[in-house]
Chain length 254, copies 2
């Protein structure tokens, strides 16, 4: 008998996040499932790994074809632990999310959700990061099932190119139906920071990182444009940071 596909699931909002629970419920019937996530939130952890301290790992659920673990590590640690300590098989796919909040455009670089997906891509394990454009804990996830199943089934059947994972963002639930799925490029947008300066009870200053997102990228074919038009955006995202055009064509003077 052929083995069921092995699906490794993680996120960056923690083991109890509604987005993770939704993702599990949608894909559970597709294969053998291993869930490994952090106790609390790891938002903004990007591709951080835990080097300076050891990592704790605790099994929460042990059922046929379904295991669940909580760790003290980051999303990237969790992918590493999942692949190396929790199974002898190479996962057929790593799913990360569903993140509460957008990981479109430059958000990919700060995202623990996408850190996990990129970590899998480094080892040529197909991976998909799912994010919903709603930051609230009580975000409405009722409209995401078809998107998640359709993309996950395609990746299970056909794999992904080497060192490439998918950054999938889903519009917030609204009265308007989602128009479809668009393969896009990452919009050239950024966060404009404003640090909030406060005083603690002892009169010492501290800062909160705050800011707002600004998209000045008017090109066609970006993820931000697709999402604004009520499409799901899919950006094939790679682990090669090289600006090949500048390796080959830029004149350096050192």
């Amino acid at each position: 008998m052929e083995k069921k596909p092995l699906i490794l699931i993680t996120n960056d909002d923690g083991i109890n996040a509604p987005g993770l629970r939704k993702l599990i419920s949608v894909v559970k019937h597709l294969g053998e499932i291993i869930v490994i996530a952090s106790e609390g939130t790891m938002s903004g952890m990007g591709h951080a790994v835990t080097i300076e301290s050891p990592i704790r790992l605790k099994q929460l659920v042990d059922e046929p074809d379904y295991r669940e673990y909580v760790s003290s590590g980051t999303p990237v640690d969790n992918v590493k632990l999942g692949k190396h300590k929790l199974t002898n098989r190479k996962p057929d796919v790593v799913l990360s999310g569903i993140n509460h909040g957008s990981n479109a455009s430059i958000n990919i670089i700060y995202s623990g959700t996408m850190g996990a997906a990129l970590e899998a891509a480094i080892d040529n394990v197909p991976a998909i990061g799912f994010s919903l454009l709603d930051y609230s804990h009580d975000a409405e996830f009722s409209h995401v099932d078809d998107t998640i199943l359709s993309i996950t089934k395609d990746v299970l059947a056909n794999g992904l190119p080497d060192n490439v994972c998918l950054n999938v963002n889903i519009p917030k639930k609204s009265d308007k139906p989602i128009k479809g799925i668009k393969v896009c490029k990452q919009a050239d947008a950024r966060w404009v920071e404003e640090f909030e300066e406060r005083k603690d009870p002892f009169g010492r200053t501290y800062y909160w990182l705050a800011g707002h997102f600004e998209n000045g990228d008017a090109r066609h074919g970006t993820d931000e444009k697709a999402l604004a038009d009520n499409y799901v955006s899919v950006v094939p995202s790679q682990t090669d940071f090289t600006s090949h055009n500048h390796v080959n064509n830029h004149k350096f003077n050192f």
Copy 2:
């Protein structure tokens, strides 16, 4: 009178790291200097930002054209704080390092040093991450001056392309002289993990992330090849993760 160039310096090994002190000493005469670094090490922090807690900031030195700050934030936080709270001018260059250890190849994705440089590149501030292929605290830095001055002066004079920073790696000091500087692409190499499993005094299991680096990339023109041949490697590195080839040419079936 023309203003001196504004040079923002950070690292991921902390405010007291010899690599940071060396970098400061080499470039101090080139302009107005602002140093902001973390109290302790932030190795492996990648592009992490501090969202869940506030950030502390303390000024250590306040001299004409030279200020130094220590923060509780990550390298990326420090670039954001430096740009937004410590000056009203846009820095002419952000320098990060000198890292104790390689950030060539896939190490860029885990690196706080390069996280800082990439953060500057998001805002089109020219940035250079410097790393030495020697992990030890007492690494020998006596052979790096010319490399750092030559690349920094070029970037101050000519800038860098939008959303591109430089990932500079310098061979470990040896009897053989460095042959020169090569502009390279990121080698397709990876860490092979082995988690060390231990028991704490209470009999509970914990894990240390360990592993070794494996480069199976035999192509010409990679950073690993240049370093093996005793050249300094420079990889122009970008903040766009899109795999454009796959946006345009890959057949998805969702």
